[in-house]
């Protein structure tokens, strides 16, 4: 015991001495590396008698913490030491700086991102229709992604959403519907009219038409006597304002666990007058979003009486809508941050 304790003291002394002479990497190797002095001292614990073990353990851990702390301090000091001379952070410009050094930057062509630009337009329209805005989370939990939306555990429809998960078991939202439960609680009791824009993620291979990262805007409307007829009219009105043209619309059956009835909203292609073009895949129609009447279980989960109230919800991809509107052929351009692309908007 005496020997080992003395050993710890020796390590500390030699470390203090080395601190000045050796580099950060050398120190790390010598003391904390696989065969470092502190590491070896830690292993030594197996040779210490049971009675003295707790004492020794405590001491060796203190030593380790000391070494680590000194090392991180040294890194910081080294950085400051090698850093350039100090500037005066409160000054409007640097010493001897030529005036107007950055005039050229200010005269560059600035731009808003096409997606946020379109998003602003879309939100302005919904806002004028009386919808509140609540932005979506980008990391969420299973409850909001699935359970609160009437996807119990093991539900086959979970497979439809190629969801990313973190190692801690959190979920990257695969749709903005993830926010429905929060919005219903936050803006309830009805009437509730909210749009929920946000970034979504799906684990799928990227190509010109698919991205693992995209933007959606969800909307929910809950009140007494709300009907499917109201839903069609609301979405149609929005799309007509956004695309600035009258539209022919129809809805088709679809399947989502969190709506009932569930539909796909389809518009007559406004670019070819429904005669068929590349935008509508020569069909004359463009599927624009999923929608439907909110499932009573979703309302119940947010403590809203589904006998008294009904509501509708929709969700659409902003990327696709913006691409259609702006004639962007490849979705990947949107997040490439190529200035040649960005400066066009």
């Amino acid at each position: 015991m005496e020997y080992t304790q003395k050993n710890l003291a020796n390590i500390q002394t030699s470390f203090s001495k080395d601190l000045k002479d050796l580099s950060h990497e050398q120190l790390k190797e010598k003391y904390l590396g696989k065969k470092g002095l502190v590491t070896e001292a830690l292993k030594e614990i197996v040779n210490v008698s049971a009675k003295e073990k707790p004492m020794y353990g405590k001491e060796v851990n203190t030593l380790k913490a000391f070494v680590e702390e000194k090392l991180s301090e040294k890194v910081q000091q080294d950085r400051e030491y090698t850093s350039k001379p100090k500037i005066d952070p409160t000054a409007p410009f640097d010493i001897n700086e030529k005036p107007h050094l950055y005039n050229q930057m200010l005269s560059l062509k600035g731009s808003k991102h096409p997606l946020t630009k379109e998003m602003e337009k879309i939100l302005r329209i919904f806002s004028s229709m009386g919808f509140d805005i609540l932005e979506s989370r980008q990391i969420d939990d299973d409850y909001h992604m699935f359970q609160s939306l009437n996807f119990p555990k093991g539900h086959p429809a979970r497979d439809m959403y190629d969801t990313f998960r973190t190692e801690d078991g959190l979920v990257l939202p695969a749709h903005t519907s993830t926010m429905q439960n929060r919005a219903l609680k936050k803006f309830g009791p009805p009437p509730i009219a909210v749009v929920l824009p946000g970034r979504c993620f799906r684990n799928e291979a990227t190509d010109a038409g698919h991205e693992h990262t995209f933007h959606q805007i969800e909307g929910i409307y809950v009140d007494k006597n709300v009907s499917l007829s109201n839903m069609i009219a609301t979405i149609k009105t929005f799309l007509e304002r956004y695309l600035e043209t009258d539209l022919k619309v129809k809805i088709q059956p679809a399947y989502f666990p969190f709506t009932e009835p569930d539909c796909e909203f389809v518009i007559g292609c406004p670019f070819c007058n429904m005669t068929g073009c590349s935008t509508c895949g020569h069909s004359g129609w463009i599927e624009i979003m999923g929608c439907g009447m909110i499932h009573p279980n979703v309302l119940k989960e947010a403590a809203i009486d589904s006998q008294m109230y009904s509501g509708f919800a929709w969700g659409f991809g902003v990327d696709r809508l913006a691409m259609i509107k702006l004639g962007i052929e490849d979705i990947r351009h949107l997040r490439e941050s190529n200035l040649n692309f960005l400066q066009q908007f």
């Binding site: 850093s83 560059l108 684990n203």
Partner: protein, 833 residues
Amino acid sequence: MRLSTNLLRKFTDINVEDTKIVQLIQDHIAEVDYSHNLREDYKDIVIAQIVEKKDHPNAEKLAVYKIDYGEKEPVQVVAGDKNLEIGNKVPYLKIGAIVPYSIIVEQKPFVIKKINLRGFASNGMMGSARELNLGNDHTRVMVLPDDAPVGQPFAEYYDLNDTIVEIENKALTNRGDLFGILGIARELTAIMGEKFTSPDWYLNYDKNLKPEDTCLNVKVINDAEAICPRYIALALDNVKVEESPVWLKSTLIKCGFKPVNNIVDITNYISVLTGQPLHAFDYDKIISNDPNTEDSANIIVRMAQPQETILGLDNKLYTLDQETMVIADSTHPIAIAGVIGGKETEVDESTKRIILESANFNKTSIRKTSMRLGIFSEAATRFKRSLDPKQCLPGLLKATEIIKENDWGKVASEIIDIYHEKKNEVTIIIFPKKLNTILGTGLTTEEIATILKNLEYRVEIEGKKDNVWIKATSPSWRKDIEIEEDVYEDIGRVFGFNNIPIKLPQREITPPQKNFIIEIKKSVREVLSNSGANESLNYSFVGIDSFKNCNLDDNLAYKIQNPLSPGLSLMRTTLLQSLLLKAKENLDRGEETFVMYEINISHLNNFVGEDKLPIENWYLSCLTTDVKVDTTSSPYFVAKKYLEKVFRYLGIENIQYDLISESKELDLPPHIKNILNIFEPNRASIISVGGIKLGVVGEIDTSIKGNYKLPEYSGAFEINLDDLIKIKPSSKRYKQRPIYPAFTKDLCFEMPIEIKYKDLENKVTQILKRENLWYKIECLDIYSDEKLKRKKRITYRITASDFNKTLKDSEIKEILLKINKRIEKDYENVKLI
């Protein structure tokens, strides 16, 4: 789910064009992925017979055939398949015909022309199964049965004057019943306003089946009743395994199944009709592989034991676990229940006796097994959508009937049916008034009842005039019907969503609440994008190298369990990671001067809320870079210039800048601590306003500039917008200015380099304020040179005026004197020049 309209028409009398059928499915049932009319594909393809065959004298790999295709003269065709014989019937693609395969895979369909192959004219082509889109074999010409009539159009013979419709499987997630053609026929009939009646073999079947000649022993034990509600087995003897007839092959191919042999094909045919998967085991193989029996086949439905294995029909070996349901003999699994059969008991040409299985398995169990083992078979696709146990028996009987009719086998056992029938009908009360409110329709009670009856619901109307309700009992195959809204959907769909008159909702005209974060983001974009900056949006995912290159700690990042690639396996902890990378990419493309920013959320796993989720704040990150600037000036100042543009636009004043190297790390919020190492500590500062620490602005760390090949003149800032909205902007109210003329004076001070510009300015403004003046201070110059050593000179330009009078020269002098006195008092080493 793929169907053929010809097959559909066998079960319903809808008298409309194929295109209309597709549209009706699309508008009333589910999304159609794809539909294709085959008629045109097989134009100019006819049945021909080989009448002459000889070797090609100039080409070893070719043969020269003469074929009769019903015209006066036979034609000569050169082919690569040398195995055809005189008398064989083949599909002949005449000159001008299109190769059907090329219609799908090539942009320009391939048209058959007359060609010359090494001196021999070839007038057309004999098609392989692949070329005809009827299978995968592309090496051999498809040989047709001997009774195929020469000269008959091939499409007519093979039932290809048909339309294929592919319905999106996702859209049928809860509709197992629609995987059978009967289900689609039922819905379409109801949509046309007619009542559908299921065929007798489906609903009113005779379940008495007796062994014909021999009697085979089969024992079935169901040890997994909770997830196998029904299991039926039937043995057949005198089985003739052969190629299926054309009608069967054609139907299966058109519905997306690959023909194998008549027995396997019949099981798949039942699946096409009803959605019910059947399976056929080789009876003798079951017995010979089971050490515990000699004269009886043992079938046990049970959970697999850990580490049990089975070789699937797909020739892959699967290791099972206790959550996998299997069909086993007395010792080991012979099939993975509802998912895939076993190779060991496969039906092949040598098979003489079989056991037909028709069972029902729990959807959740099948889904889990299918996912776990990665087997997405046709059977699993159906079972995981929930099927009706009732149809197990009619499915099996129908298969047996076809086998008997064709003399492919004889019944050799009783029907063994393990089934504890549970009442699985659902009765739901529908109030027409509520239904009309939810849909926005004006349907009468009778109209509603008719729609339901047409879908084979049992319907009772109850109540009186003003208070009427409908008791609707869903048919047993409708596993998706649970609540009244499910029934509303049925009615809405069949009536036609698009027949509903549309009307905007009525509500109070309350305007929405102000969303501060949205508003501030809009303002930031406005000002930055009007100052030459480009907004970017970047992936939230980065790779581990990004943390190394940016001096960041990857332990603070959320890690993705199932990343698309290693480069996308962590969530970025600061938006600057993306901007640095994108700056490099743009520089590589030849850009020289730019300012790029992003407004987004980034995540730190040590910045977590009570709900265990990361706190999501919005950040504004901005990077400035210029290759052309050749100066010793720090890019700190240009980054700060952009930052201050934002602050000024938002009315944020009294901003404090403290060098990183002079700040205590302990008091910093996590998002600031995280990014400190991105900056040069002596050339970057913590930004704070009224005690709130917002972020960092400064020159990019030299090593990071190296990592991303950024020019010397590269700066950046990042601030937290959620913190920024907590700060009250300066008052926007109008302040009156003096009407008296202002004086302008330039003051130049010499001081040690360490003294801060702002500190000195504050001394000046204190005096001006005390004198009750309106004033403005500009900085004209900051100068230093070798002669001054570690000193600098700052020239301030002061413009000021009094609210009550024109200041006389003497009064102005007085003020300047006060300023100078004050500064001399506070600083020993500052002097006015």
